[in-house]
Every structure is written in structure tokens, then in C-alpha cells.
Point group: C2
Chain length 194, copies 2
């Protein structure tokens, strides 16, 4: 929608990020121009630079916000048993990712478009999340309830399996998310079972 001149800083800032998120997810960071983002927001291209120093920061901020949300939303519960921790992680991961397909897509697909410094920061955040699962698996091995020869590999295998839901799951399809969750939990549980 076209817009006349005026002051809208509290509205326009979030709108810029929302538009960038949708466009980056659909066409890819490199294929999206600042002019396209501006058109979606309803401002001219130059006005975007009141909200971001450059295009790269726009991508970085979206990815960082997503991973910080992820870490904040998954509160690891210390002391609880590994099996309950693994079930909680599995169901949480599927739900959280299903609610944010665009953010997830960007966080996986646009890593190569980050500057080296930004890439390092994003990878560190992702690693912190992976460590949550690795910790659960190691605790389960020590407790004798999981049979996992290499917890690091098992962590990567489980996360890849769970994140894969986003490539095919669509709301209103053959299965509800709760059904999908149950099927994946059964597979995860068995895959690390004694």
C-alpha cells in the first residue's frame, strides 16, 4: 500500500523485518532486492536504511532472533529423567519449527550468505541448541536407558530427522501435527533404545 510522508518508526521497523523474512524465504536472500522489500512495506528504497544499516544486517538479525527465540523457548529441565527430556525435546522441536517455517527455512538455507563474522555467531547459537540434545543423550547413556555409540552423531541424526518435517508438513493435510509428533517420537525413541 502506498504511503504519504510521515513518522512511523514504531510501525515500519517490524514491517521491514516481516517483509524481508517472507521475501527471503520465498525467493532467497540473493534474489531479493531492497526495492522489493520497500515495495512490500509501502515505502521507497532509501527509507529502509533508517531501520537497517544494510541488507546483510537484515538477514543476520532475522537469523539471530530466530535462534535466540529457539533457545529461550526450549528451557532444559535439569534433574528430570533422560527419556522425558528426549520426548520433550522431540515434541518441542517439531512444534516450534512447524510454527515458523519461513524462519527455519532461512536459518538453514541462507548460511552461506552471511559474512564470516555473522556466520560464526549464528553457528555458535545453533551449536548451543544441539548441545541441549547431546546432553540429554549422554545422560541417557550413563543412566543405561539409551544405547547410543556416539552421542554427537545421534544428535545430528535426530535433529535432521525432526527438522525434515518442515519439508513436507502442511497444516490441513492428511495428518494433524499431533499425529506427526507421535509418529516421530516413536521413531526417535526406538532409534536410541537399548
Amino acid at each position: 500500500m502506498a504511503r504519504t510522508a510521515g513518522s512511523h518508526s514504531e510501525i515500519t521497523g517490524p514491517r521491514v523485518r516481516t517483509a524481508a523474512l517472507a521475501l527471503f524465504a520465498q525467493h532467497g536472500y540473493a534474489a531479493v532486492s531492497m526495492r522489493q522489500i520497500a515495495r512490500e512495506v509501502g515505502v521507497q528504497a532509501g527509507a529502509l536504511y533508517n531501520y537497517t544499516p544494510d541488507k546483510q544486517s537484515l538477514l543476520f538479525d532475522l537469523m539471530r532472533a530466530h535462534l535466540e527465540d529457539l533457545l529461550a523457548a526450549h528451557a532444559p529441565r535439569d534433574g528430570s529423567d533422560p527419556m522425558a527430556g528426549l520426548e520433550h525435546f522431540t515434541r518441542f522441536h517439531i512444534q516450534f519449527h512447524a510454527e515458523r517455517p519461513d524462519e527455519v527455512f532461512i536459518a538453514y538455507m541462507e548460511l552461506r550468505n552471511l559474512s564470516p563474522e555473522n556466520f560464526a555467531e549464528i553457528e555458535a547459537l545453533r551449536r548451543r541448541y544441539e548441545d541441549r540434545l547431546e546432553t540429554i543423550l549422554r545422560a541417557g547413556v550413563e543412566a543405561g536407558v539409551f544405547a547410543v555409540p556416539d552421542p554427537k552423531i545421534a544428535t545430528m541424526a535426530v535433529i535432521a530427522m525432526l527438522t525434515g518435517v518442515n519439508t513436507w508438513f502442511r497444516e490441513g493435510g492428511r495428518l494433524s501435527l499431533a499425529e506427526v509428533e507421535q509418529i516421530y517420537w516413536d521413531m526417535v525413541r526406538k532409534s536410541v533404545a537399548i
Copy 2:
């Protein structure tokens, strides 16, 4: 390397595809220019159009060739038992994908840069490959050796888990590919076990 004028059609054609593959994998299709590809090959940009009608066809041909190689390399063995079929599929998938990281990366990451017609053709090829695994899983369920409530979902879960190897595996790392193969086969086997 710079090149003087002359006839090199049998050499240059494959070199164009090789250069495009490496550059698309590293920087992404949208971020790579025809000039970059030409520079890598050692010709001027205009000469590329002797080998491809346009940039889109270059991407499409790389993805189609990869998926046709995949289907040709995985000969399904009819009549053999489901457990052997699943182990063969698992080990084959890991090996085949580990040998072609660039092709795999492109085939997953650049789908949105295909024209609608090309996308449909690529997706049909991928679907044919997924059907191979689904057939194995259904046979195992009928034979009573697998416990899989939804073979379609289990197919997606297993393939996502196996393809995930490519995101972290590096030759010469802590584990050999044979060790990785064994760990993943154990997890796949258990995840569909009774």
C-alpha cells in the same frame, strides 16, 4: 586459464557444467553470474550460450543429471527380504550422497530457483527415489519385520536423517564413512523395528 579462439566443443561443454556446479554450490544460483562461470571456464560470457540456452537450463540440467544418476545407481533388488533391502538402501544413500556433496546441496537448496515446469520434473524424479524406500518399508510391514504406522512418513524421516550426514561429514574427520554408515544403519534399523 585464458584461451585463444578455436574449437573445443567436446571439452568446453563439460567444463561449463563443472564450473556451474561448483559455483552454484558455493554461492547459490542467484548469486552466481554467467560472467563468473565463463571466467572459471576460461572463455568469455557470450561463449557459454553455445552450451546452454540460458542460466536456468544450466541449473535444471545439473539437478536432473544428479537425480537420474541416483535412480540408476540404486538398483532395487526385487524378491530380497525387506531388512536386507533397508540396509542396502541406507548404506547406498550415505555413500552416494557423500561422494557428491555439491550435487546434493544444489538439488535440495535450489529448488525454488527452478521454473514451475522444471520444478515439477525434478520433484517427480525425487519422488521416484523416495518410492523405492517406501516400497521396502511397506514390504517389511507386510512381512511383519517392521513396525511402521505410516510408511510415507517413515520414508521422509529416514531420508531426512540420512541426507543430514552431508551437513557435517568431512573426509578425514573423527569418523570414517564406514563407521558413520554403521551408526546410521543401527539407528535406522531400530527406528523401524518391531
